[in-house]
C-alpha cells in the first residue's frame, strides 16, 4: 500500500515542496516588512553552493546548513542596503541580486583546480526514522518517513505565523510593511526592522537552496534548484502572505513538479505526453493561480502589505 502511486507522489511532493516552504516563508517575512526581494532565486543558489561546499569540506550537514543560512542572510544584505539605505528601485535591485547570485553560484561551483561540479555530497539528509512507525500504512511514509528538514519546515511555517500575529515584533513588522510613516511615528525603527527581516528572509532562502544538493539530488550540478526562487515569489501571493498557507501552496507545487514522473509510470496514453509539456505544469499552475487570486475584487482581500516595494524616506514632504 505504501508503494502506491498516490502515496509515492505525495511523499515526493513533500520533498520537492520543502525547499519552497523555506524560500516562501522567507519571502513572506521580507515582504511583510514592505521590501520586495526578487533576488530569491540568486539567494537560494548562493545558499546552495555555500551549504554544499561547507558539507563537502567538513563532512558535517549541520555546518552545511549553518553556512547556507549565513550566506543567504549575508547575500541579501546587498538588497537591504540598496533598497532601504539607498532607496533604489527594489525591482532593479532584486533582479540584480538574482543575476549576480546565479553567476556567483555557477562560478563557485566551477572555480579552482578541483571544482565542485559533479562531486557527490559527502553526506546527505536521510529519513530520521527508518522502519518501525515509518513503515506503518499511509501515515508512515506521509508523516514519519521524512528527513529532519521537512519537520523544520513545518516548524518554520508555524513559528513564522506565531511571530507575525502574536508577538510585538511581529506587530512592528506588519506595521512597517503596511505604513512605515505611521510605524515610525509610533516609535518603531523602520530601517532596522526592514534590515533584520530582509536578512531573515535571505537566510531562509539560503537554507531552501541548500536542500537541493544536500537532500534532493545529493551532488553539485550547475543550477540545482531550477526556477524554485521564482516559484517561491509566486507562492507568496498564492499564500496571501500567510506562512501557514505557504506550507500547502508549496506542497501543491511540489506535487505539480512531480506529476510528470508519475504520469510516465502510468503507461499509455499518459506516458506519450512530451516531458517538456509536463515540465511546464508548475509554471502554468502558477500563472493560473495568480490570475484567479489577483483578479477583480478578490485582490483586495489578499492582504498584500500596502507599502510593499515603496522606498521609505522619513523627511519626504
Amino acid at each position: 500500500m505504501n508503494d502506491s502511486q498516490l502515496i509515492l507522489t505525495i511523499v515526493a511532493a513533500i520533498g520537492l515542496g520543502t525547499p519552497l516552504i523555506f524560500a516562501t516563508v522567507g519571502e513572506i517575512i521580507t515582504e511583510r516588512a514592505g521590501i520586495l526581494n526578487l533576488g530569491v532565486q540568486g539567494t537560494m543558489l548562493v545558499g546552495a553552493v555555500t551549504g554544499f561546499w561547507a558539507t563537502f569540506q567538513t563532512g558535517s550537514l549541520t555546518l552545511g546548513i549553518l553556512a547556507s543560512l549565513l550566506a543567504g542572510a549575508a547575500f541579501s544584505v546587498i538588497h537591504a542596503f540598496a533598497s532601504i539605505t539607498l532607496r533604489v528601485s527594489q525591482i532593479v535591485s532584486g533582479l540584480a541580486l538574482t543575476i549576480f547570485g546565479t553567476g556567483l553560484a555557477s562560478f563557485l561551483g566551477k572555480a579552482g583546480s578541483d571544482p565542485l561540479v559533479g562531486e557527490p555530497a559527502r553526506d546527505q539528509f536521510d529519513a530520521i526514522i527508518s522502519g518501525g512507525i515509518a513503515d506503518w500504512p499511509v501515515v508512515g511514509p506521509l508523516i514519519f518517513g521524512h528527513d529532519i528538514l521537512v519537520y523544520v519546515a513545518w516548524i518554520a511555517a508555524g513559528a513564522a505565523s506565531y511571530y507575525l500575529f502574536r508577538t510585538r515584533m511581529g506587530l512592528s513588522l506588519r506595521a512597517v510593511g503596511e505604513d512605515p510613516a505611521s510605524a515610525e511615528s509610533a516609535g518603531v525603527n523602520v530601517a532596522w526592522v526592514r534590515y533584520v527581516h530582509v536578512m531573515a528572509g535571505g537566510a531562509l532562502a539560503g537554507l531552501g537552496g541548500a536542500y537541493y544538493p544536500l537532500a534532493l539530488v545529493p551532488t553539485w550540478q550547475d543550477n540545482p534548484i531550477g526556477a524554485a526562487g521564482w516559484i517561491a515569489i509566486a507562492l507568496v501571493i498564492l499564500a496571501s502572505w500567510r506562512p501557514w498557507r505557504a506550507l500547502f501552496a508549496a506542497y501543491l507545487f511540489g506535487a505539480a513538479a512531480r506529476i510528470q514522473f508519475t504520469l510516465q509510470t502510468l503507461g499509455e496514453p499518459w506516458s506519450s505526453i512530451p516531458a517538456t509539456i509536463l515540465a511546464m505544469i508548475p509554471f502554468v499552475l502558477a500563472i493560473i493561480a495568480m490570475i484567479a487570486l489577483t483578479s477583480g475584487k478578490r485582490a483586495r482581500f489578499l492582504g498584500a502589505p500596502a507599502a510593499l516595494g515603496i522606498p521609505y524616506f522619513r523627511e519626504q514632504r
Binding site: 515584533m169 506595521a175 503596511e178 505611521s182 509610533a186 516609535g187 518603531v188
Partner: protein, 511 residues
Amino acid sequence: MSDSIARETLGVDLRDIHKQFYGVKANEGVNFQLRPGEVHALLGENGAGKSTLCSILAGLYRPDAGEMVIDGEPVVFKSPKDALAAGIGMVYQHFRLVPNLTVAENLALGHHNLGVLVDQKDLQSDAAELGERYGLPVDATARIWQLSVGEQQRVEILKLLYRDARVLILDEPTAVLTPQESQALFSTMRQLTDEGRSVIFVSHKLHEVKQVSDRVSVMRQGQMVGEIDTADAEPRDLARMMVGRDLELPTREEDESTGEPVLVVRDLRVPGDRGLESVKGVSFEVRAGEVVGVAGVSGNGQRELAYGLVGLRRPTAGSVSLDSVDVTEANVLEHIRQGLAYVPQNRLGMGLSPGLTTEDNLGLKAFREAPYSKGRQLVPAAFKTRGKDLIAQYDIRGVVPGLPIRLLSGGNLQKALLAREVEMQPKILIARSPTRGLDVGATEAVRNSILRERQRGTGILLMSEDLDELLALSDRLIVLYEGEIVGELTARMATAERLGLLMAGQKDGGN
C-alpha cells in the same frame, strides 16, 4: 500604563531652529517656548513653517541648526521614538495610523517593544479605560479603515496618552472636524492641561485659537513673528501678524441669480470604491451665475458626487443634465464639449499632468480645436504662444519654459489649472477644495477667478471643507451627509453653527 499624574510636566524651549527642504527655508531661526500645563496655539498661514517646527519637536525631522532644551536639559531626538520617550508626541495632520491594524494594535505598536506576547484583550480593556477617562470613546476592536476621520483622531490622541505623553502636539486637528466635534476636542484639551500636560495647538483659524488657547505664537514665512497672551490678543492683530498686512478676502456681492438652470441633478446614485453606494439619491440644480456650495465632512460622498457629475464614474441611477442635455451616460469628453469645467481636489495628477510643461498643460483640454490643432495635426507653436499669453494673463509665476509644471508652487499650479478651465468658457464649473493648502495671496486669486466666472454667468458648484470659504462665496449651500443631502440653506440663512449640525447628520440643523 503608567500613572499619568506621577511624572513631572515638561517645559520646552526651542532655540534658533533652522530647517531647509531642497533649498526652501521652512524654519529660519525660530524660537519657541512652551510652559507646563498650557494650551499654546501656533498660528500661521499654510507654509508658514508650523508643521515643520512641530515635526522637529516630535523627532520626525532633524533641525539643520538650533537647540532643543527640555526642562533645562539640551536634547537631540534621532527619531520620534526618542521624542516619545521624553514625553513628547504629535498628532499629524495626515494621521499616522496603520489602516489594516485594529485600534488596539495601533495603540500597542512600538510601545514596550521587547515584550513578546500581544494580548488583544488586555490592549482592548486599556484602550476602553483610557477612552472613557478622557471622553474619547472608540471601539478598540475596529480596524482603522473602518473608522470615521473624527474617530481616527481620537485614536491618535489615545495613542499618545497610552504612552503618557506630557506634551501633545495637535497639527490642525479641527480641519477635519465639524464645529461640534471641535468643541468636544477642546474640552478634552482642557482636561489634559488640568492634569498638567501641555498642548501645542496648531491652527490658522483665529476664533478657535482665541477660544481654546492660553498663549499664541504666530509664524510667518518660516519665522516666528510674535508671542502673546491670548487674553491680550485681538483677532485683527493676530490676522495682521499672520499675513503681514491687512487682509480683505473677496466675498460674493449680494444678488440672487435668476439665470436658467445649467446643471440639473435628479435622484443621482453613484457607487463608491468598494462597490457600495456612496451618493444615495441626490437632487439639486445650479443656475447660471450662481455659486452653490457643497458642505460636508470629507468622505460623505463629495468625491463620488463629483466623479458622477463629470463622467468619471457611471451613476447607477438618476440623471444629470448639462445645459438641458442629458449627460448621465456620457463620457468625460462629451461632458467637456457640453461646457463642463472641473477643478479636482488633486490638482497635480488629476488636474494637471506633472511631467508636462506649463504651456502644454494649459492646452490640455482645448488641444482638439483651433488654434492648437489643424485637422488631425497639432500646432506646437500655438501651445507656446497661447501658453505665454495665459501665463501672463493669469499671473502664473515661476514658470521656466520647457520645464515640467510640477516644479510650480501650489498656488501657481491652481492658477494654471483654473486658467485652463476658465478659458474653455464653461457653462458650469465644478471645483473641489480649490484653495486647500494655498497661501493667502493665491487664495485671493483663486476666489477672484471663481467670482469673475459667476459674474460672467457660469454656474458654479463649489465643494469644500472650508466653511469660511463656503460662506464667503456661496449663494446657496447644500450639505452632504452619508451620501444624502440633509439640508439646503440660502446664504442669508447659513451660519457655521447650522452647517456644523447638518454636517453631523442632524437634519433639523436650524433648531
